[in-house]
């Protein structure tokens, strides 16, 4: 259910854009979402289907590109990306230091929409 508020914002952004572009129909919505957000594409699609009923975005397909969090090692400065799923701790792949800092991977973006007309 965490996806509901986010999906409402997505529908609004998509419809604003589609109307401005005088689209007849929205075919695809491409999102880029950080893995850390824990948003499930399946639920975004379900809420979208529900919220877009009766609009030109009804039936649009939601595609989610998931981005993996990125880190920098506090010791050797190595930059690396690593999924946090099922991970107990983050260690540097180069010097094996356990002292690393999160530098990115929290995106919530509507990248683009594919429209008809």
């Amino acid at each position: 259910m965490h996806e509901l508020a986010v999906t409402e914002a997505i529908v609004k952004l998509v419809l604003d854009t589609a109307r401005r572009e005088r689209a007849r129909r929205v075919v695809t919505v491409n999102l880029r979402i950080g893995e850390m957000s824990d948003l499930k594409a399946e639920w975004i699609q379900r809420y979208f289907d529900h919220l877009a009923v009766g609009t030109i975005a009804a039936g649009a397909r939601i595609l989610v590109e998931t981005t993996v969090p990125s880190f920098q090692c506090d010791h050797c400065g190595e930059r690396f990306s690593r999924s946090l799923r099922g991970v107990e701790s983050i260690t540097c792949p180069r010097c094996e230091s356990g002292s690393c800092t999160l530098t990115g991977g929290m995106e919530y973006l509507v990248e683009n929409v594919e429209i008809e007309g």
Binding site: H2, V27, M36, S89, T101, M106
Partner: protein, 239 residues
């Protein structure tokens, strides 16, 4: 003619809430009211922390509370029983508070007579951290029985909070909770955030928390005792 084309948007999904949250923060700042958003799982100790903090700071500040946690065992009535203004926010189907809901709650408070405003967010470690409420300070509480592995499971919360409190520290000896591992995991996600173990039950660690809080409240906030507010009934509203 038909055919499709791609229109680039590249816009943040939650941008609208962020703008509204900025406006809420500005409004509070203008009224010299400092807002603290308290987030945690159900049962981790949000209400206890707020009550313990009120006990310690009510002589210095005029305090009010927005209650959004419907699972809480102590609701707005209990805050009102302490003699403080409280607003019970019914979040409907939503699992977190956003800036629009904060704005609605503020209509029921006298900001000119409030120095410190606590928001008890809905009990959940996920989306509460994704939505800016307009608060000046974001505090996350984890309780010892929840386990030291939580930062990497709920990384958004632990990277978003300004202060991380570890409540029920009196259970540290009973539970297999690795405090050092917990600190390291938090440091990876959020090196700037202090981690403060405390126990709302025994009172241990509360001084340190109050110190951390006081450091973050701007000078000039707080009013003479003669202007302290009375004991109004809690208001209830839906978003």
């Amino acid at each position: 003619m038909s055919g499709t084309r791609i229109v680039q948007i590249r816009q943040e999904i939650l941008a609208e809430n962020r703008i509204e949250a900025g406006a809420v923060r500005e409004r509070l700042t203008r009224a010299c009211c400092h807002m603290v958003n308290v987030m945690a799982s159900p049962g981790a100790g949000k209400t206890s922390l707020i009550i313990r903090t009120i006990e310690r700071l009510r002589e210095q500040f005029r305090i009010a509370v927005i209650e959004a946690d419907l699972d809480s065992t102590v609701d707005a009535d209990k805050i009102t029983a302490l003699g403080l203004p409280a607003v019970q926010l019914e979040t409907g189907g939503y699992c977190h508070v956003d800036a629009r809901m904060t704005n609605a709650a503020l209509e029921h408070l006298d900001l000119e007579k409030t120095d410190l405003l606590f928001l008890e967010n809905v009990g959940n470690l996920i989306c509460t951290a994704q939505s800016d409420t307009g608060a000046h300070l974001n505090v996350a509480i984890l309780s010892v029985p929840e386990g030291d592995d939580k930062p990497l499971k709920y990384p958004v919360m632990f990277s978003y909070a300004d202060i991380i409190l570890l409540n029920k520290s009196d259970y540290l000896e009973l539970e297999e909770f690795d405090l050092e591992a917990f600190r390291q995991r938090v440091a990876t996600l959020n090196p700037a955030a202090p981690v403060c173990p405390l126990s709302c039950r025994t009172g241990r660690g509360l001084d340190e928390w109050v110190h951390l809080l006081m450091e973050r409240i701007p000078r000039g906030i707080g009013a003479p005792a003669s202007e302290r507010s009375g004991n109004p009934a809690p208001r209830r509203l839906s978003p």
